[in-house]
């Protein structure tokens, strides 16, 4: 026992003792070797990058009942921004640390609504994502941090993801704000992964119209020889359980086929319901207690042509989305609320409440049937990336065209253009907020 204690004391004091014994060359060499090895490990495990972005945006606001005279959303017409985006990572033995601190300077100009003629400077310093992960055993990892957790093969949106609505693909230059997650990942076999995920804080995500609720998920992933599949069982506090799935198949060298979906009993989405209030209706969770299954299914495929481009098609059936009758009632209610927006309280208060509910009725897509077509090609002559995406709402015939163009001027500099044109009247899904918008900028990677 005494020997053990002495050994532990020696072990704890070893670095100090060994430093003090300057004459002991063996010890000195061992310490030197250890510190060199440590330095090498740290320098090998350290990774960093720094990106600098500056860009300007222009947004033409749509004339719609959702945003009367732009006084509800108060969207700026022009903006210019300067972003500094360092990414830091240290992988040291069983520990993995990463951080993405951000600096954002933004200047906005308003030309519509109550803020017409207004300008505003804003600076924002924050950490959009950070992570501390430890490898407990060879196959078990535990992490906590602010993350942007994305998965699934689809381009349009990821119905199987219970945490994030935005998958970041409509504007890759705008980073999706991270939320706080605890994760336990277990790899029982090469082909299988089991994850427990707890979304414990909203982090940098904003929930302007509702309270944030913690969400827990159990995710099972399988990866086969030419296919993969995942099942995600999630539960949101004060809401219900959801089952999400996604999978894909490399059908040939050029053809990918995939699907994604979610299903739940009932829905917490808001639907217009006739009432005796001044607008004749309110937005209510009418399917909250419903026990019938409601689901969203996305089916897609992509084909890469011999000459380079990849063509993608996706179809979405959104079960909880509005039928024609529900959509008519929704737009009627929205118009009533819009008309009352400038009246005195309490009508104005009711108008604002109603418009906040119609702005986010807890549906990722408003209607039931959508189709998306995409053309994508990377590294054309090593200088150009192109993405053109058309999303069509089959039910109300509105649509959205997005183009993402990256041009590389040298090894460090990228000039980018992201443009969007929405078609449809103010009483359609894609015609509700913006008519068109564009973003032009330069990204420099050090």
């Amino acid at each position: 026992m005494r020997n053990k204690i002495l050994f532990i004391i020696w072990l704890l004091s070893w670095p100090t003792v060994s430093m003090a014994q300057g004459s002991n060359s063996v010890m000195e060499k061992a310490v030197k070797k250890d510190s060199t090895q440590l330095r090498n490990e740290l320098s090998e495990g350290l990774e960093y990058s720094l990106r600098f972005l500056t860009f300007g945006t222009y947004q033409k606001i749509a004339d719609s009942s959702q945003n009367p005279n732009n006084d509800f959303f108060q969207i700026s017409r022009y903006s210019t921004a300067l972003d500094l985006r360092p990414d830091l990572r240290l992988n040291f033995r069983r520990l993995d640390l990463s951080a993405k601190p951000r600096m954002n300077l933004e200047w906005n100009v308003w030309e519509d609504g109550v803020r017409d003629g207004d300008t505003d400077w804003d600076d924002d310093w924050f950490v959009n994502e950070w992570l501390a992960r430890i490898q407990v055993t060879e196959s078990v990892f535990i992490s906590y941090g602010r993350e942007n957790l994305q998965w699934g093969p689809s381009s349009l949106f990821s119905p199987s993801n219970p945490f994030f609505r935005d998958n970041g693909r409509s504007n890759p230059k705008r980073e999706v704000p991270g939320m706080d997650f605890f994760r336990l990942v277990w790899l029982p076999k090469m082909s299988w992964t089991i994850s427990f995920i707890a979304n414990v804080d909203e982090g940098r995500q904003g929930f302007p119209y509702y309270e944030f609720d913690k969400t827990y998920a159990l995710k099972l992933d399988f990866s086969g020889q030419e296919s993969y599949a995942s099942v995600i069982l999630s539960h949101q506090e004060s809401d219900r359980n959801r089952l999400g799935v996604f999978g894909g198949w490399t059908a040939t060298d050029a053809l990918l086929i995939y699907g994604e979906g979610t299903i739940s009993r009932g829905s917490n989405a808001l639907y217009p319901k006739k009432t005796d209030n001044p607008f004749g209706a309110t937005m209510e969770e009418i399917d909250d207690k419903d026990t019938s299954l409601k689901g969203t299914i996305l089916a897609g495929g992509s084909y890469t042509l011999e000459i380079g481009p990849t063509l993608t098609i996706e179809y979405v059936h959104n079960g909880p989305g509005y039928s024609d009758g529900e959509a008519n009632a929704y737009y009627r209610l929205r118009q009533e609320a819009s008309d009352a927006y400038y009246l005195a309280d309490p009508i104005q208060g009711l108008s604002k409440l109603t418009l906040s509910q119609t702005a986010d009725p807890k549906l990722r897509l408003l209607r039931r049937n959508y189709i998306m077509l995409q053309y994508h090609q990377n590294d054309i002559r090593d200088v150009l990336n192109l993405t053109f995406r058309w999303t069509h709402n089959i039910d109300d015939s509105s649509g959205q065209f997005i183009s993402i163009v990256d041009f590389f001027a040298g090894d460090h500099t990228q000039i980018f253009f992201i443009g969007g044109v929405n078609s449809g009247s103010g009483d359609t899904e894609f015609g509700t907020i913006l008519e068109h918008h564009c973003m032009i900028g330069v990204e420099y990677t050090f």
Partner: protein
């Protein structure tokens, strides 16, 4: 297709290394003959007993199909007089690989994950991994499949066509026909060195039978497999069959045989 192929005749140059000199004893040439016979009788039956699939497996080993390997590839592509360069770090095990783009800065941080036939592309700033097809080109004449370890033995049915020489080296010429539609190339003519059992030249064909590119391989690197040094690919030069000036050169360096854990190929842990 599991037949044994005929033992090809020994190359004429073999055995002529020992020169009898006037005045010297007969011991040296005799020893050489004995040594040659030992080598011949030792090697020939081994090669003779190997099926085309086994020969391909050996050749695959020298192109990364081993338990775990990490290497860096410098790709230089000349296409229509434009030169492009990339440096990638590859971690590979069995039929899985992770390619991390190291330079130039404009592509730094990109990752390409291949788990068997499933491939994902990850761009810095875009957290959602994008599934991509094997056909999507990496750069110049190099397909995604070219940077990964080769599994011709598993993906193709091989037939020994004939013997040939490549740069004077005796080779076995195999005709490889894909038995799955999931591979990058439908048919390959593959020259494997008789003595070294490594692929030294390949021609790649489309379904219509048209050759669209060819490649040559060099093996200056060496790795230890079961404690024994084995040659490992050091250079692959891909030449476009239509535009001869379009050439992609891939140089393989910093080869390390190491245990690559499952977590390296796990999407849940990869995206940070």
């Amino acid at each position: 297709m599991n037949f044994k192929f005929q033992v090809p005749p020994a190359p004429p140059s073999v055995g002529t290394g020992a020169v009898w000199r006037a005045g010297s004893s007969f011991k040296f040439p005799v020893l050489c003959v004995i040594l040659f016979s030992v080598i011949l009788f030792h090697i020939k039956p081994v090669l003779a007993e190997m099926t085309p699939k086994e020969v391909l497996s050996k050749a695959d080993e020298a192109r990364g199909n081993v338990e775990g390997v990490e290497w860096e590839i410098k790709i230089e592509s000349v296409e229509n007089d434009r030169t492009q360069k990339r440096t990638l770090r590859i971690k590979a095990r069995d039929f899985n690989s992770l390619a991390e783009f190291l330079s130039p800065p404009k592509v730094k941080g990109r990752k390409l994950l291949m788990i068997d036939r499933n491939m994902w592309f990850i761009k810095p700033g875009l957290k959602k991994p994008v599934p991509i097809s094997p056909r999507q080109k990496l750069m110049g004449g190099a397909s995604n499949g070219d940077i990964a370890s080769t599994n011709y033995a598993g993906d193709y049915d091989a037939t020994l066509v004939s013997e040939d020489t490549v740069n004077g080296e005796p080779c076995l010429l195999f005709n490889l026909v894909a038995h799955t539609k999931k591979v990058t190339y439908d048919r390959i003519r593959y020259w494997i060195s008789r003595d070294r059992l490594i692929g030294v030249k390949a021609e790649f064909f489309t379904v219509s039978g048209k050759m669209f590119k060819s490649a040559t391989f060099e093996y200056e690197n060496s790795i230890l497999i079961h404690g024994k040094p084995k040659p490992f690919v050091s250079k692959m030069v891909i030449t476009d069959a239509v535009v001869k000036g379009n050439i992609t050169t891939m140089r393989y360096g910093k080869v390390k045989i190491k245990k690559i854990p499952d977590s390296t190929f796990n999407l849940n842990l990869l995206v940070r």
